[in-house]
Homo-oligomer: 367 residues x 4
């Protein structure tokens, strides 16, 4: 099965390359009757778009989506929603300086190894620009989750370099907190330190990695499947499918390695409300389990973190080889993100939303 | 789609519960003509089996597999291979002390929330015993990968509690190193410290977490798909689908957060051999990228790590609630692993093998 | 994707060969809480079983199913239901007379062409014996459909050779009508003529084809998807996946070729009841559309027909070639069905039930 | 799983409605390196297009495709190929006369039953206009099959009303024969009678059904899977997924009902060539099996037939009900095909090509 489709019942298929005419996402499985227009897609696309602030790439792309199908008189019809985002600024230039060189950290070499050749004008299908239509699709999923279950999905920057934000209650962070600064960190003091660090590495023609945290609240208990399609497994796949993600953890994550069972187990307590038709409401006093037990949602906030590597493209020369295996150097022209984190936030939210919308429908099928 | 099937072209479907008659895996998509017998499955099943050493649970299960189909005159036929592992020791006992209580850290509550009721005699479908048939299926995948591409897959224990093994060259670790001690740590000095730590927590009626490292060598460059089905994404899903996994990372992993691009990029160099029909052989001087670039294998060793939480079952009493929401305490009888890591190793290897076998066939389809 | 799995949400995976240890079906996606035991599977297995009457093969197989998983205290748990049917009578015999010959009309040659070799002791994976576990899985689907929507599924023999049954109202046929004679034809007069014809061809060491009709009543309007996964398309696949099916039609079927639009259109009229939450109840005065319009169920009885070829195995000698391409003759020993129709009926019902159960869950997911 | 995706390894996802902005198909899984441009898509789109002759609808649609992705420097890259066909002529008109009425034979009622509402301006997602992008996708598959295996795929009209073409050797029909007349019948004498019949029913404000025959030659033996994904099963689904198809048969089809085994079995004989790596070349003296045995291709021509109902839209008034269930009449304005057969031919070819391309890649994966 080719790898350009994600999800089972809420399902997204994307096509498009960075230097082609544009990108398409087909969102299949959205239930009928939900109000939807391009205005629902635009806010997250604006948060993902290049050129949005001084800490991102200065490239300009409008990323204006067109809905081609699946909506009639302002409402989803239950049929597939095709979303088209045209590429702009497709001026041809001379690619002879990069055509035969492998950019370090990029997919150039592995793409050649897989397919035998590649679009040498940029990342082609491997460009992070593909996430634009994922973010558009994710906006559809977010709205569905909000309307059906009041589920709120939010991401933010937790760490850049050595600067670590203090976010004691992930479930209490709001979009306003996140969007209050250009680096999307809800800890205002650390946000400024992050911005300063990014400005510094940019001046050094370098880049810097970081960690994003993603939170979903109000997810009902019981979503996810007990074995292969655990909620954590589908979320792991979703987040690792984003460019530059080197690690994913939830709840205590890697810190569990040094914990004892007595320190790690969250103790069940009686909760305040009763879920319809299910067992009596149960909650946990702590959330080291990050909202998932046995691969199924527990009703507690779902909390995940992704490690994002520093941007591979650097405007300083880097040694590499040509496609013929000869030593050379490469300088990646163009305007790159000195740090991927601020623009990663809406991408991570989109993937979290797509997984939850899918499991919402999967649970509906057996209920 | 129900969640009991894994993989696209090399595909495993499992069924079974801990207290039922047994487990079945159907391995579909294995190419015809490969020699296969139960002797190929037994070694890894023995490494996963309970009761194998003093640092694991002392429960006894033979885990003897029967191949029901798909093999004729000692060779795979290309048709599905069904593997049956009967449960032993199904003596009925009195479950009244646990029937109505939610074990902390287990899927009891989320199972009830999902399905409305559950097999209260144990983990049911959520029991880690399900991994027995995954390990059997993984043994088929391992053999296929070894015969076709000389791919070697190996896991080992990297960390337990604060004891961290020193493994400077993951790709040089051998099965003999790993199996030289009961904790499956290739660093002999740290192995003893790990064993001591496990013995200590067991005496305290507690448990301890850790980190496993998984390595695949000789994977050709170009496996994996550029977008959703990135190799790292499918591996992320595979490993998160195992019980108790709280985090997955590859290459530098979470450490990338504090790295600069100049520190993180692996520089391409000319390699020594040429892959058939592909571009000239290219390699990297370092392997911070963990063998995957743009979601596709680079030809360098694939290196991943999983964080495993401490066993949730404890033989000391823990507070919890009943299914009716009333406070109570629970003591999990039976013999539990004080640390999941030694038995996790073959499970992680199996999932790594299943993903690679799947992408091997996917790559063959387009070549 | 290997081809041993059927369905999306109600999903069956089968394994097994005619001369191996046995067959397994894993039924995944059955909702929790439905009473289920082997007694639910036995009746249809008895209707499919060899040796049941003088017009079928005289081979003996008990076809006693064992449920290995997915049922607890007599109810489905929502987890996969594995059903095992052991083969009996696996006495080894001398296969040297057929080992290197291609049986006309069978999959021997195409199997070799696909996989390079085959189990020469019989049909192997291509044996119609595989339908035993499909029938068991179909019995689960039938029960689910009956309990949820009072859907009744029934098949019967419509034609054998030139003998055509008169069944003016397919939706009024009952199981008692069908089972009142060994040929499973609800027209008693024609049933005897069919039996006589089968006895005659058997004496001639020949075989005869026929047509089966399948009916589902009480299917709610709106099941099926408008484009690729039309209900008629999934049913077409389901029925063509059965051995010996050469044609499938629904409603007027091939007779539509000579009809005018004014003759073929069924006129909508107001119905008697109102479906919950949907549009006002609408029905049609006639049912030339066979219960499906635009690929979705209309609420009228679903009526399909399958053409079944005469059994390919004959006890008289037939010319053929060896695997080396040399001319020879083959006489298929063993006891074969002189006509496949009587035993086809439960197979066709099972596939119809599997498709409807799948679309029932698919519809539930978006409702 | 939503039903807008077809195929496993060569996979098409479509979106779009008749009265929306346009249609998109994403073709995923086409191997890299095949020359492709819109010129490869245009010929079949022209054969499917409305307004092409006096025996089709006189509506005008250009159906000019744009390739949005997946092609670089004139060659497929291995990444998804998105094809966009904009709708023309979207002038708004007054729909009050049809908005609340159910057209006989159409999906209006079943669409409402499924989704609760529908785009009342036409067929919406159920419009046969959706097949435009299928035909475009099928053209990609056809080219791949031709280049890799010299497979030729061709359809033609076999019967309209009582006029039956005489086509003694389906495998010898050429595109020139088919396109030599506007009704796409390779028997010139019967072609004129068909045209006359269509003209007559058109004058009567009526419509007429028919039968199309589809042929694929040079398909290697061994494609298709032995159980659920039999080649005949996937072809059955593919063809039944097209609008107006009431029946599908292959080889002798429904005529098998009256045949004896001795009359129906095709006898194997030694063939003239040897397939690479496989068994010695074997062929059959006759082709009653329509090129498929045991669900796998035999190397003989694949021959199928589809029964197509008369167009449901009529320009004479027909009785029906309103969405509120009240009696009324409806006259379908606009210009409709008096007979669907001539334009069905490229649709049927496209679905046949999509199935074969999929199984070609599936076979490659295990070889």
């Amino acid at each position: 099965m080719p790898g350009n489709t994600f999800g089972q019942l809420f399902r997204v298929t994307t096509a498009g390359e960075s230097h082609g005419p544009g990108y398409v996402a087909i969102v299949d499985g959205c239930p009928p009757g939900m109000a939807l227009s391009v205005d629902d897609l635009t806010p997250d696309l604006q948060r993902r778009r290049p050129g949005q602030s001084s800490v991102t790439t200065q490239r300009k792309e409008d990323d204006a989506p067109e809905i081609l199908s699946g909506v009639f008189e302002g409402k989803t019809t239950g049929t597939p929603i095709a979303i088209l985002v045209r590429n702009q600024d497709q001026r041809s230039r001379d690619y002879s300086d990069i055509k035969d060189k492998y950019r370090p950290g990029h997919a150039d070499y592995t793409f050649d190894a897989k397919y035998g050749f590649r679009d040498y004008r940029g990342g082609g299908r491997s460009s992070a620009r593909e996430t634009a239509v994922r973010v558009a699709a994710g906006a559809v999923a977010k709205k569905l989750l909000r309307l059906r279950h009041n589920i709120q999905i939010l991401g933010y920057v937790k760490q850049i370099g050595d600067v670590i934000a203090d976010v004691p209650s992930p479930e209490k962070v709001t979009l306003e907190h996140v969007e209050s600064n250009i680096v999307r960190c809800p800890d205002p003091r650390k946000a400024q330190a992050m911005i300063d660090l990014i400005e510094q590495v940019r001046k050094q023609q370098d880049s810097i990695g970081g960690i994003a945290e993603l939170v979903a609240v109000n997810v009902p208990a019981g979503w996810g499947e007990p074995v292969f399609d655990k909620l954590k497994a589908d979320l792991g796949k979703a987040l690792f499918s984003l460019p530059a993600v080197m690690g994913v953890e939830y709840g205590v994550g890697f810190a569990c390695a040094t914990l004892r069972g007595t320190q790690n187990n969250d103790i069940f307590t009686r909760g305040e409300h009763v879920s319809a038709g299910g067992p009596p409401s149960i909650t946990t006093a702590t959330n080291r389990h990050g909202g998932m037990l046995g691969g199924m949602s527990s009703g507690m906030p779902i909390v995940l973190r992704c490690a994002i590597k520093p941007t591979s493209s650097l405007s300083q020369p880097q040694p590499t080889v040509t496609t013929a295996g000869e030593s050379t150097t490469i300088t990646t022209k163009g305007r790159h993100d000195p740090c991927l984190l601020p623009r990663f936030v809406p991408m991570g939210e989109a993937m979290l939303a797509l997984v939850l919308a899918d499991h919402m429908l999967r649970q509906a099928a057996i209920s």
